[in-house]
Symmetry: C2
Amino acid sequence: MSERNLTLLTDLYQLTMMQGYYENDVNNHEVVFDLFYRNNPSKNGYAICAGLEQAIEYIENLHFNEEDITYLESLKLFNRSFLDYLANFKFTGDIDAIEEGTVVFPGEPLMRVKAPILEAQFVETALLTIINHQSLIATKAARVVRAAEGDAVLEFGLRRAQGPDAGVYGARAAIIGGCTATSNVLTGKLFDVPIAGTHAHSWVMSFEEEIEAFRAYAKLFPDKCILLVDTYDTLESGVPNAIKVFDEMKAAGIKSASYGIRLDSGDLAYLSKRARMMLDEAGHTDAIISASCDLDELLIADLKRQGAKISLWGVGTNMITSSDCPSFGGIYKLAAEISKDGTVIPKIKISDNPEKVTNPGIKKIVRVYDKKTYKMLADILALEGEVFKEEEPLTLLETKARWKKMKLKPHTFVLRELLVPIYRQGKKVYQNKTVKEIKTYAHTELETLWDEYKRLINPQIMPVVLSDKLYELRQKMLEDYKKD
Amino acid sequence: MSERNLTLLTDLYQLTMMQGYYENDVNNHEVVFDLFYRNNPSKNGYAICAGLEQAIEYIENLHFNEEDITYLESLKLFNRSFLDYLANFKFTGDIDAIEEGTVVFPGEPLMRVKAPILEAQFVETALLTIINHQSLIATKAARVVRAAEGDAVLEFGLRRAQGPDAGVYGARAAIIGGCTATSNVLTGKLFDVPIAGTHAHSWVMSFEEEIEAFRAYAKLFPDKCILLVDTYDTLESGVPNAIKVFDEMKAAGIKSASYGIRLDSGDLAYLSKRARMMLDEAGHTDAIISASCDLDELLIADLKRQGAKISLWGVGTNMITSSDCPSFGGIYKLAAEISKDGTVIPKIKISDNPEKVTNPGIKKIVRVYDKKTYKMLADILALEGEVFKEEEPLTLLETKARWKKMKLKPHTFVLRELLVPIYRQGKKVYQNKTVKEIKTYAHTELETLWDEYKRLINPQIMPVVLSDKLYELRQKMLEDYKKD
């Protein structure tokens, strides 16, 4: 995405609305939009946010070139003066965001855009596309990696990804979510992350005999020699032939850093147990058994429960598409307007559905940790200027049930603000992190959650509470609306 | 994708295998791979193949640049001589493919690649990524469009697409599948297809009063004036305010080419019926009622059954991700090798699962239509040299139940071969079609299917039969395998 001009990657209505604002709002007044989501994907207990680096690249490259303007002109929807404005368009606002790899929860602004309304409105679609996609896959990957209980998980999904970007940035997000490596070479090159892979059935089929294919492969890559054993018959042919080749390597004095087999069909629990016995009996106790084949987090967890002897998991389709939940419901809603004199006018989106009423005002997120364990206790959604102190008592009231209290004594908790400055007046003020750094950070983030919040099915729900001030503002705005 | 170098968009194992072939096969012998799939997505009765144009662009741009080679070298997996080979790599083979927009069925080669093994192996991953993605979305869109029974369907999913490409090429595929327009401006520009969209809730919220927002919009775009009526209260506020504005337009003598409302929440059946009554009573019988909000083909079909008064459908997340089935299971399997003297040696992939045994040899697909109705009767998978004549009787035996026969008399049927030449010895010999042409073609393709095959749930299964010669070859190879 780094050098691509994705300026027209938007919904037409952003441009028609922009022309409307251009015509009706000579001051192009400043507004604040929140990018947030309402439900964790896959009924997970949290999400891992990702995609900020690509969102930044998008903002950096934002400009309508001549070809874009000519195209827009050809639509006969826009007037000359607005098109001239677009020709000089650039982003001049502020962006704050939660850093990639952070554990996040529904309702929290992952990104907060404060800019003249034409700019703030315009960037909606592409920001959502980018953040929604990568947060989805990072979250799914975190689930899969958790199911693997410390075993390495490899991302293998490129061929089933929803197009090249889905493969490339999906693999990036999967690494952030905890995968050890990806098969995707382009992702490896672009983001300096480990890549992995050995051979396919076609390699075996292109030789007269399976064992010849194995021998040839072992000769070529003795140090990373994982042989695919299910082309013909896993236990009758594949595993015995692999063992022969491993014997030959041993006899020739070749010490492999990593060798073993890959199962890609059949019952992985049964086959891995039988294969383990066969490999062990032949003295190859350090041979790895890896598996692929329509895996997802629930199947991996179940195979583990059944004692499958697999220690390396290749996960494709179900992770790269987040197949049980292929979209992350990020939305982008107006939270405030800034009047000419700088006053912040909070805005609220009413809905028949109480879950869909938005939180008004310019907000921040304060995360509360237990001081002793550094496990997370709650998040507070608060107004920007509010101050919380570790040396004062803190009472948190559950937003939907304000009689439910969490009372914290002074000096027993640690506070941390999640939003960090990314842009100030159109200038990038954030130093990108490498994917490796983000992955390490995401790992430590997950460590701050008790296991209960990370359960794959029916996890405990982390409280995200409104500060008293934000709660009162919201209630007042709802009351005012009722009176109308 | 047109100018992007996606050469490294591949699985690492393609490159490790290639080095293997490079070392072990000095002749780089020719092979034939089939790209096909095993099951229709969404339990549909057919698929619409798409993505060929982007597959061609990928092949056209295929080359390892210096940066790519440097990266591969840094992996310390590949030897100098192989890297030098890659630096001069280009595709020199033949490709045949089924044209985009064609109705296809499981087991049929959508693409057939005949090339030296290093090249044929290398292109696997990217071809699958491209064809799988677009065929998935084109098929899903065809389902949604069918559910809409002639109403226009707009593609609105960019913000929930799995990354920019998924949005851009997904929208392209959705148009091929029958959508009237997309909200995606970049797709509109790249592929010269209609784009659509009006305004969002934020437009309404940025005005003091809903009616002011509607007036401002109507003034700006009188000719395409679809007002979003659910920001506050659809029936109490939105629709009455829209009617006021339509009244004002009428009074001012403004004739709109297309005006009406959009519903984006609540019960769409109830709200649309009530809104229709209100609009009709006010004399706006030609006002359009459009709807969006988590729609998919089954919900649209159900809303239609309940008499919803909606004639324009905006479909987002569920179509752009094919949410019920977010991957198309295309695979790429070795079908034959060509020996030095040019002999074709058929190859078969055995599997414990009989469904997964491949069809050997260089194949073609012959489609059989009823001459009177031009409705499709069956597809024949045959060996390349086989000849079928319309003036001779034709007997088709079902592959899995060869006692089930279809006997056709001479001159009662029409035959058509589906694979067309795309590349010959590395040269493109195919003239790209425009997306509009492909969409029209896909529409005529769907007309060749009786409704039974297009049922959204539990459709009739189109017979794809093996020719006697192909069946016998396959049986013989299975027998030979058994003897080993």
